[in-house]
């Protein structure tokens, strides 16, 4: 690790001020991605600004029909939360399958969403559920937030504060986890929202994306057969030693079918 200075401001306002005046500083929440990145000397921030204890980033509540989760909430807390289990059980399940127990005890929803790893689970849930990402400056719709591999609408010094998920009618997440890392080789989140059917795919492409063809087919008939005849084009998908792009394209369809089967029955 290159050396850096660690600071732990006591309020969100102090964090905002610090980040604004130190452009090379980086916020540190759970550190599950950032610390390995630092250990590999892939980043050299001037400061780490510890935001893990900020009250403003804590808490899970249901407010005006939406489930609101503070950015500093760990995956373990989301998985255990009765609010999440009652309002959007698929989201609790998603959180329960991230990484491993020790990682879930540290890693946070805000960190996962801000990092936007192309194989992370949360981006699929946030996008499929049509959530709103609330930052220290503004509110950003999920459709505008995720902008491809490790890229989001966040500007320098902008921090995710909480995420607001409108309650869907039903939702399910299906993931084919890499057996060693637990990251999604492909993960598909299907949600029947008040605004229609949304299908978000992670792990398969360079960033999370909506499969609009499946959404249209499922809007006409919400059953497995509606998806079975679709083909996910492979050309723009990821290819690596773990699987070809055609393999991932097939996974997208299979996992979408599984998610729909769970929601609709056969």
């Amino acid at each position: 690790m290159y050396s850096f200075n660690y600071v732990k401001p006591g309020s969100l306002k102090e964090v905002n001020d610090f980040l604004a005046s130190n452009p090379e500083a980086r916020p540190l929440a759970g550190g599950m991605t950032l610390i390995p990145t630092l250990k590999a000397r892939l980043a050299q921030p001037s400061h780490l600004v510890d935001i893990s204890a900020l009250e403003e980033l804590k808490g899970i509540e249901v407010r005006n029909g939406a489930l609101v989760i503070g950015a500093g909430t760990t995956h373990a807390e989301v998985a255990r939360s009765t609010h999440v289990r009652d309002a959007i059980p698929a989201l609790a399940e998603l959180a329960f399958h991230i990484g491993d127990p020790a990682v879930r005890n540290c890693g946070t929803i805000g960190g996962s969403v801000a990092n936007n790893d192309p194989a992370a689970d949360y981006p699929a849930g946030v996008l499929a559920l049509g959530a709103t990402v609330v930052t220290n400056r503004r509110e950003i719709a999920a459709d505008d937030f995720f902008q491809g591999m490790f890229t989001t609408a966040l500007e320098p010094g902008e921090l995710v504060v909480r995420i607001s998920f409108p309650k869907p009618r039903r939702a399910a997440y299906e993931k084919f986890a890499h057996p060693a890392s637990g990251y999604a080789m492909t993960g598909v989140f299907v949600a029947q929202t008040n605004g229609g059917i949304r299908v978000a795919v992670t792990g398969a492409g360079p960033g999370v994306f909506r499969w609009s063809e499946a959404e249209a087919a499922l809007a006409k008939a919400f059953n497995v057969a509606a998806v079975a005849s679709l083909t996910m084009p492979a050309a723009d998908l990821n290819e690596d030693i773990h699987g070809s792009r055609e393999y991932r394209a097939n996974l997208v369809r299979v996992l979408t079918k599984r998610a729909v089967a769970r929601l609709a029955g056969r």
């Binding site: 050396s3 660690y6 732990k8 599950m32 610390i35 630092l38 250990k39 127990p101 540290c106």
Partner: protein, 155 residues
């Protein structure tokens, strides 16, 4: 440099550390508690698992400064008054180890896991320990030991 005060196994340790010092290095090098192992150093193997404020964490992926003010328990802190912790006894009874390198992490992960799930099925044990790797692949007895540990804890 940063001043930290960390309660480790019930003892307050006030030390000065480099900001970039990892918790595992603080535990091993500064405090000399070498029961916590470094296996992969990439947050995968779980050999460095300790508890921070009662929750299992991988101490190779936590900074010592992040643990400032926290309560940390390592494998050395499990035994009470010369009596092994029930999970330590279970690993001994069931021979839940081969070379033993992963064992401290396995035991700390198990103690954390059994808090959330005191009566787990075999599948739940495998899922609960998925952040801990045994390169000897001695998982069969490890799973037995976790089951036995659950029984002993309930006695």
């Amino acid at each position: 440099m940063a001043k930290v005060e960390i309660v480790v196994n019930g003892r307050k340790e006030a030390r000065e550390v480099e900001d970039r010092t990892l918790l595992v290095n603080f535990i091993r090098d500064t405090l000399g508690l070498t029961g916590t192992h470094v296996g992969c150093d990439t947050s995968q193997c779980g050999c460095c698992t300790v508890h921070m404020n009662g929750r299992a964490v991988k101490s190779c992926t936590v900074l010592a400064v992040q643990a400032n003010g926290a309560d940390v328990m390592t494998i050395e802190g499990l035994a009470r008054d010369g009596e092994l912790h029930p999970v330590q006894r279970a690993f001994t009874e069931c021979h839940g180890l081969q070379c033993g390198f992963c064992t401290p992490g396995m035991i700390m992960a198990t103690v954390g896991f059994l808090k959330d799930n005191p009566n787990p099925t075999e599948d739940e044990i495998c899922k609960g320990l998925e952040g801990n790797l045994c390169r000897c692949t001695g998982y069969i007895n490890i799973v037995k030991a976790v089951k036995r540990g659950a029984e002993l804890l309930q006695k």
